[in-house]
Amino acid sequence: MESQHTLVLLVEDHPGVLNRVVSLMRRRSFNIDSITVGHSEQPNVSRMTIQLRGEAEDIEQAGKQLYKLLEVIKVIDLQPSEAMIRELVLVKVAAKGAIRAEVVQTASIYGARVLDATPNSVMIEMAGTEEEIESFLTMMRVYGIREMVRSGKVALPRTLSKKTDSQTRHMNPLAAD
């Protein structure tokens, strides 16, 4: 059965690593929904978060193939129940006159922040889970979204990585034995 997975990768922070990861995913026909990359807690190590869809075997194969890249140190298949998976969205919403107060009010219900305002629009920042963001965006569409950007997901397991629950699979190639 196809399902959504969140792979977290620790990779050496070299130029071209993102290219290698993306090129691999493309040529082996894995479906990436989003990919983010940034610094991790360790120097010279970046953390990538890849959202992809596929059958369990496809995801397993993706993990094993990723391990073959020299710069990939660790791949974890994060289970949603074991992790915080968040995204950031910036939206510019049409908001003139009386509507403006309503927009700001609605945003505050979602814990979103107004970043900027012009006579015709406000820019709002919202971070949350996919569901929270979708729900927030549904509301904002009522007023008219003029521009939007989503960051793609970032994720961390809830527990310290040493004590990770068995559900969060370290896709260690040795796990094949």
């Binding site: 071209g16 194969q61 040795l174 094949a176």
Partner: protein
């Protein structure tokens, strides 16, 4: 080459003196020498002129091929014949792109080679200067890893790691791209040591629990079958493998690249599996209840339609690459590790089994040999007879490389390969033109062995220019052209699956005998059965490259054949016996 190792002398000298200041180009040469490589294959050009400046003074024998792709294939031939890392050099731009096919060939067949390419000077990178291509970008999917070096101080360590990556774990091609100004920059040369990487730790020693599970499954099997892939040969495990087969008494089949994993003439060796495999081998696959795969990746040409592959068998898969396990075939017992290390642990765990009735059943599945000769020309030299004569005259001891096509399959079926590193063919990529350049590489690596290449008239016309290289190097290589006047394998598919629409497969060629002579080699033509053996014997007695033009029946097909997409059990057998 002189036998003394120049690098050790230098290293000793270095311990007492200041490090020498060398150019990047000189460091490249030192770093290659330090890997125990004495032969490189290449072709010069603008971006690598500084490197070629350093080559004459280095302890490297450079072989100038006539096309960069064939430098790559020669490096592959060298690697496969010796078990060492092959090395090739090309200039930036077109030189580098000409290497791509060879890298892909090495990638698909897991061959350890290192390619050094020149790059335009750093200030010009990214500006589309003359002969700039993004070769690290281009070769990303066809290399195990690649590098671009931006600091002369990193050349030695990068080349060290490149060779290590090429040969360790699952072997493969590694490319090192070096901008011209880095070749020219100078620094103190300090021989590099390998710094281990957290992210690269191939599993060579298997998990003992998995080894025991494998042993249990073997003990319980009624009709076990072993399949041997290239991994056995890559891990230098031919002896351990033969011992395992003999101890268990289990019949053994081979993939195209696994031929030679043990002596094919051994009574337990059943033959090759797959699309043009021996009938017996494919029949055994159908009937076996346990399939033990050592170092093969279940390629589609070996398995046929997956749903019909070994339908009654539980599968044990031994592979150094965990990503191969479960990729194509469901595996009951995965064993991740180097074949040799696995066998060291597995062989003591298994018992001798009595598989007499199972073996008798397999023996009963006759291999059929197709008579290719036409009724009205009974004296045509039969392709398979040519192969058998070469094997017989050379006592199965020669290195044989092949090109790609019908002749390759005839060779695979009829040679009877005795040694792992003496059968060199392009399997995964199936690269036409592979035959002669890989023979050059093999001969450079193993000058002590007789070397033959069996090629088609089509493929030979792709790389026949390497006759010049063979003559220049004075190589004793015997070239057998199976000349059917067709791109025979394509014609066979058109014959069987496209209503004999022979579109663009009739191929003319030069007078090959005269061509050989024009290059300063020897040419012999064979047009009848009776001339086969004398020609082979004559070729062996002549110094330098010898080409035999075997003019064979144009429309002979290779049988058996499993149609593409069909199961291995559905062999087309031709009108044989």
């Amino acid at each position: 080459m002189v036998a003394t190792d120049p690098t050790t002398q230098r290293t000793e000298a270095n311990q007492h003196t200041q490090p020498e200041v060398l150019t990047g180009a000189q460091i490249v040469c030192r770093a290659i020498e330090a890997e125990g490589v004495s032969t490189v294959f290449g072709y010069p050009g603008g971006a690598v002129i500084p490197l070629y400046d350093a080559i004459p003074e280095a302890n490297l024998h450079h072989v100038l091929t006539r096309f960069e792709q064939w430098s790559g294939m020669a490096a592959i031939g060298y690697a496969r014949a010796t078990g060492k890392v092959g090395c090739c050099i090309a200039t930036s731009g077109p030189g580098a792109t000409n290497l791509v096919t060879a890298l892909a060939d090495a990638m698909l067949d897991s061959v350890p080679i290192v390619a050094i390419t020149g790059q335009v000077i750093e200030p010009l990178i990214g500006r589309d200067g003359f002969q700039e291509v993004d070769i690290t970008g281009i070769t990303l999917p066809v290399t195990k890893h690649n590098y671009i070096v931006h600091d002369v101080n990193e050349i030695a360590s990068t080349i060290k790691e490149a060779f290590y990556l090429a040969r360790s774990g699952r072997p493969g091609p590694v490319l090192v791209d070096i901008p011209k100004n880095i070749f020219q920059a100078k620094t103190e040369y300090i021989p590099a040591k390998l710094t281990p990487r957290k992210s690269y730790q191939p599993t060579t020693i298997p998990n003992m629990r998995q080894v025991r599970l494998a042993a249990d499954a073997i003990a319980q099997a009624k009709r076990p079958l072993i399949m041997a892939g290239h991994g056995v040969i890559l891990s230098n495990a031919e002896d351990e493998f033969t011992e395992f087969v003999e101890k268990t008494g289990i019949p053994t089949i081979f993939t195209l690249l696994g031929l030679g994993a043990m002596d094919e003439l051994h009574p337990l060796a059943i033959g090759m599996m797959g699309m043009h495999g021996h009938r017996r081998a494919n029949r055994a696959l159908d009937e076996c209840d346990l399939l033990i795969n050592f170092g093969a990746r279940f390629d589609d040409r070996a398995t046929g339609k997956l749903s019909g592959f070994a339908p009654n068998a539980k599968v044990i898969h031994v592979d150094i690459d965990p990503a191969e396990i479960g990729k194509n075939v469901q595996t009951a017992v995965p064993v991740v590790g180097d074949v040799k290390e696995v066998l060291k642990l597995l062989t003591p765990e298994v018992q001798a089994g009595d598989h007499t009735s199972w073996r008798n059943w397999i023996e009963g599945q006759h291999n059929r040999v197709l008579r290719a000769a036409l009724e009205d020309r009974p004296d045509w030299p039969e392709p398979y007879a040519i192969i058998k004569e070469i094997a017989d005259v050379t006592n199965h001891d020669a290195i044989v490389t092949t090109d790609v096509g019908q002749h390759q399959m005839w060779a695979a079926q009829h040679l009877g390969v005795k040694h792992g590193k003496r059968w060199i063919t392009s399997g995964g990529l199936g690269t036409m033109g592979f035959g002669l350049p890989s023979a050059i590489g093999a001969k450079m690596g193993r000058p002590d062995l007789e070397v033959w290449t069996i090629v088609g008239d089509g493929g030979f016309q792709m790389s026949g220019t390497e006759l010049a290289t063979s003559v220049q190097e004075g190589l004793d290589i015997n070239i057998a052209i199976i000349n059917n006047g067709y791109l025979g394998m394509v014609r066979q598919w058109q014959d069987l699956f496209h209503a004999r629409n022979y579109s663009e497969v009739a191929i003319s060629g030069p007078d090959f005998v005269k061509l050989a002579e024009a290059y300063g080699a020897t040419g012999i033509r064979v047009t009848t059965d009776a001339e086969i053996r004398p020609a082979i014997e004559k070729a062996r007695s002549i110094k330098g490259p010898v080409l035999i033009d075997f003019v064979v029946e144009p429309e002979a097909n290779v049988y058996p054949m499993v149609a593409p997409g069909a199961a291995n059990s559905q062999m087309i057998e031709g009108n044989g016996e």
